[in-house]
C-alpha cells in the first residue's frame, strides 16, 4: 500500500533494509522528505515528490554551455554548481548558449560534476521539470517515453537533471503532457491515463 509521507514521518516500525530518503532513529525508520513510500516493499524507502538534482556518474543530462575556458567549458546542468567539461575529445563546435546532452563522468563529495561526451542540439526547445519526476516520465522500460513519442511525434531527450530538449512534432502538446505527468506523478495507472489523454488531444486536433 502506497502512502504519502513528510519529513519526520514514520515509514515503518519493522526492521527492514533501508533505501533512499529515509533515516533510522531509535530503531525506527523515518522519511526525510515529501514523497511516497510503499509498506509492502521489502526495502524501506521513499520516492521523493520534491527535490533537486544531485549528479551521479553515468547520468545523461541536458545542459547549456555557459562559458568557454582555456581548456574546457562550463556547463549549466541545473544543479548546485556548474559542471566542467574538458575540451579533449570534443568534436562539435560549442559556444555559450549551445544546448548539449552530456554524460556525468565524475563527481566528488561536494556534488560537483565533470561531464563529457557532449552532443549538440540545434533548434528545438528546452524546458525543465522537477528532476525527481524524471523516472515517471521515462516509465518502466521506457514505457511512458513510448507513449509520449507516439502521442506527439516529437523527437525529444529527457535528461536526469530534469531538463528536456524537444524538436519536431507537436512540442506544445509534449510540454503539456509532461507537465501533467509531473503534477500527477504520485498517482497510479498514469501510463494508461497519459495514453488516453494524448489520444483525446490528437482527436481534438
Amino acid at each position: 500500500m502506497k502512502k504519502i509521507v513528510v519529513p519526520g514521518e514514520l515509514v515503518t516500525e519493522q526492521r527492514k533494509r533501508t533505501g533512499d530518503h529515509v533515516f533510522v532513529h531509535n530503531g525506527q525508520i523515518y522519511s526525510d522528505t515529501v514523497g511516497i513510500t510503499n509498506n509492502e516493499s521489502t526495502t524501506a524507502s521513499v520516492v521523493p515528490l520534491k527535490g533537486i538534482y544531485i549528479p551521479k556518474q553515468g547520468d545523461i543530462l541536458i545542459g547549456l554551455v555557459v562559458n568557454e575556458l582555456f581548456s574546457g567549458f562550463l556547463v549549466d546542468v541545473n544543479s548546485f554548481s556548474l559542471s566542467y567539461m574538458s575540451k579533449d575529445r570534443i568534436r562539435e563546435p560549442l559556444k555559450r548558449g549551445s544546448i548539449v546532452s552530456v554524460r556525468v563522468s565524475k563527481t566528488n563529495e561536494l556534488n560537483e560534476a565533470d561531464v563529457s561526451d557532449a552532443r549538440v542540439f540545434y533548434g528545438g526547445e528546452v524546458f525543465a521539470v522537477s528532476p525527481v519526476k524524471v523516472p515517471r516520465i521515462i516509465g518502466k522500460n521506457g514505457s511512458m517515453l513510448d507513449i509520449l513519442r507516439k502521442g506527439t511525434n516529437c523527437n525529444f531527450i529527457v535528461g536526469r537533471n530534469g531538463r528536456i530538449w524537444a524538436k519536431g512534432g507537436n512540442v506544445p502538446l509534449l510540454i503539456k503532457a509532461i507537465k501533467k505527468i509531473e503534477a500527477e506523478a504520485h498517482t497510479s495507472n498514469l501510463t494508461n491515463k497519459m495514453a488516453e489523454f494524448l489520444s483525446k488531444q490528437r482527436n481534438i486536433i
Partner: protein, 260 residues
C-alpha cells in the same frame, strides 16, 4: 545566474518569432495579459491591493504617517513611493539594500501618480504649516514574470483608491479609526513597452524583457494626459515609438481602469 542562459536562448526565439509577427502566448502587440486585483487583504494597512498581471504579482500597501509640511507648501501633505524586489519573486533578486532597479521602479510609479495630481495634497493637510499626512505607498514584488512597472502602478493606484484616511485626535493618529476615504482626482496608469528589434510590444513578459533592447513606459490619465515618460535600458527608441506608445497607452489603460 543559472537561469540566465536558458532565458537568453529563449530570448533569441522571441526575436525571431516577432519578425514573423508572432508573440508569446499568441498575444497581439498591444494586448495585455490577464489582470486580477484583490483588495482589502491586510488589516494593518490603510489601503492595499494585490495585483496579478499574467504571472507577475505585486502587492502594494498604503500607510499614513504624520509629518510637517515643506515651508514652501504649508497646506500640502504628500506621498512617498517605495518598491522592493524581494528574493521571493525571482531567483535573480538578491538580498541587500535597494537595487537600482527597485529605485527606478519606485520613482517612475511615483512620478505617474504625483504629476497627474491624482491625490489632492491639500486634503492631507491637518493643520496648516504644522501637521500634514504623508501617504506611504510600499510595493513588494511577489512573483516576477516581466513588467513590474505596470503591475506596480496598478497595485499602487488601486491601494490608494481603497485608502481610508486615519482619524486625527489631539495631534495623533487614532488607531483603527478613520475619517473617510481618500478620494482620487485621477487614476493614472503606466503602460510599458519593450522594443525588440523594430517591434514595440506592450506588457512584456519575462522572456520578452530578456530579449528587449529598450524599455519605454508612459503614464496616462483618463482624460488623455500623459503624466510621466521613462525610457530604460541601453537601447534607443524613435519618435514613432513614443507616438505609438501614447496611443496604445490611452486605449489599454481605459480598459484596465474599469477594474479599479
Amino acid at each position: 545566474m543559472q537561469k540566465d542562459v536558458l532565458l537568453e536562448l529563449n530570448a533569441e526565439k522571441v526575436l525571431n518569432n516577432l519578425k514573423e509577427g508572432k508573440r508569446n502566448n499568441g498575444r497581439k502587440v498591444d494586448e495585455y495579459r490577464k489582470i486580477t486585483i484583490e483588495k482589502d487583504l491586510y488589516k494593518n494597512a490603510e489601503g492595499c491591493a494585490k495585483v496579478k498581471l499574467g504571472d507577475t504579482e505585486v502587492i502594494a500597501g498604503v500607510k499614513f504617517s504624520l509629518g510637517t509640511p515643506y515651508p514652501d507648501s504649508p497646506k500640502q501633505g504628500t506621498i512617498s513611493v517605495g518598491a522592493e524586489l524581494i528574493p521571493l519573486a525571482s531567483p535573480f533578486f538578491e538580498t541587500g539594500p535597494p537595487s537600482m532597479e527597485s529605485i527606478e521602479l519606485a520613482r517612475v510609479v511615483d512620478r505617474g501618480i504625483r504629476e497627474s495630481k491624482a491625490v489632492d495634497f491639500e486634503k492631507l493637510c491637518i493643520t496648516e504649516g504644522e501637521q500634514v499626512l504623508i501617504g506611504f505607498i510600499d510595493m513588494y514584488a511577489i512573483n516576477f514574470d516581466g513588467n513590474l512597472f505596470d503591475a506596480s502602478a496598478i497595485a499602487a493606484i488601486s491601494a490608494l483608491n481603497e485608502a481610508k484616511l486615519p482619524k486625527i485626535e489631539n495631534d495623533k493618529i487614532v488607531e483603527k479609526e478613520y475619517s473617510g476615504k481618500l478620494k482620487l482626482k485621477r487614476k493614472p496608469l503606466l503602460s510599458t513597452f519593450a522594443k525588440i528589434g523594430n517591434v514595440l510590444v506592450v506588457d512584456p513578459d519575462l522572456m520578452e524583457e530578456t530579449a528587449m533592447q529598450a524599455r519605454f513606459s508612459v503614464a496616462t490619465t483618463e482624460d488623455n494626459f500623459v503624466s510621466a515618460f521613462q525610457k530604460g535600458l541601453s537601447g534607443a527608441i524613435k519618435k514613432e515609438d513614443v507616438d505609438n506608445a501614447i496611443d496604445t497607452a490611452f486605449k489599454t489603460s481605459k480598459e484596465i481602469r474599469k477594474n479599479i
